[in-house]
Amino acid sequence: MALYRRNAVRFLAVLAVLVFSGHAAAYDFEGTVRVSGPPYPDPRFIPIEKKPVRGFPENVLSQSLLISPEGGLQNAVVVLEGGAADVLAGPSEIVPPQMELDQKDYLFDPHVVVLPAGASLKILNSDGLAHDVRAFNEDSKMLFRYDVDPGKSVEALFEKPGNCVLRCGLHHWMHAFVIVVSSPHYAVTDAHGGFRIEDVPPGNYAVRIWHEILGESGTAIEMMDSVRNFEYTYPSEIR
């Protein structure tokens, strides 16, 4: 009996070490965000009346609603909110690399950036002309304004969670979104609507999905293992 008790104590001790050693389970959350259809809307083109430079095209491709032939939605943001306690957070204490937003070919690249609250964004200008970058929050209040000369960059700090739109005051078609989140688990969908969020601790999460045209939507999920085939289809009609 004493031997049994001793073994039980040893087993529990090993289990406790495994649980609290920082090598807790972490899963991947992978999937696709789609748009209902077919048919899917064709890409839109923005007419450019006042060309910034000689030889500039007559129109530019709008990045506001990009859908792949299979219905995959590009530039949607997927965020997992909630989840387990911090002790099981695993590698979330790693500081994310600084994000960059470039102004190239008179477009913002990438079109959507996700940042954790308190992070800074490096805004570059790879074009031959100056750009005038202005950021607005959801209340239409200007957060900052920078004149960025060709070849130069500025750094902007985003402290509070929320959705911000960045615009160039000189080129009306140029805009980008900066989504500031309080969760370390987020991703932006690629050209096929696919995304992958790694190292998600087990637990119950709210899946928040945002798109600049289709709006915000979501669902709930319980992470007990890696999810490889999450699918979300925007139900509303595209306006």
Partner: protein
């Protein structure tokens, strides 16, 4: 040079009179100078008296007509298209503020500094702005440019393609 002079009627006091010892030609020049100086400072006031018939008017209360158009565009509210009596030194933002409650501050671009007119607010995410034109041109600052008589000021709520 007027010279040092003494009034005959006020002995002991120095008064400004033509010195009888000043040569005649110089005396004439001085007289012309004095008359012209008086006229330079007095004529505008005299003319204003003739113009308004009421004596001197305070510049502060001067008003003049301008034509104001406010178009709410896709917001669907009823707009404004009429003559407004603007005060001197009034700018485009103050003018529209005479007709509707406004909110202004830092917004995109020099011509779009109104944030809200009559509850219709700019929407940077949807590229919707209040755009002003003065006499058909957008090349002016709504804050700095002072309106003048006969100006046509238009505020339009626009949505730009993106």
């Amino acid at each position: 040079m007027i010279g040092n002079l003494y009034s005959r009627s006020c002995p002991g006091k120095k008064a400004l009179v033509l010195n009888r010892f000043m040569p005649g030609r110089r005396r004439a020049h001085v007289a012309v100078f004095i008359v012209l100086s008086c006229l330079f400072f007095q004529v505008p006031e005299a003319l204003s008296f003739l113009r308004f018939g009421k004596g001197k008017l305070s510049a502060k209360h001067e008003t003049f007509p301008v034509h104001l158009v406010v178009d709410f565009g896709s917001a669907g509210k009823q707009g404004y298209d009429s003559t407004l009596l603007a005060e001197k030194e009034m700018n485009a933002i103050e003018a529209v503020g005479q007709v509707y409650p406004i909110l202004y501050g830092m917004a995109c671009c020099s011509m779009r500094e109104i944030v809200e007119i009559n509850g219709v607010r700019i929407d940077p995410a949807e590229n919707r702005w209040w755009k002003a034109t003065l006499n058909g041109s957008t090349k002016f600052s709504p804050r700095k440019k002072k309106l003048k008589r006969g100006d046509r000021l238009e505020w339009h709520y626009i949505e730009e393609t993106q």
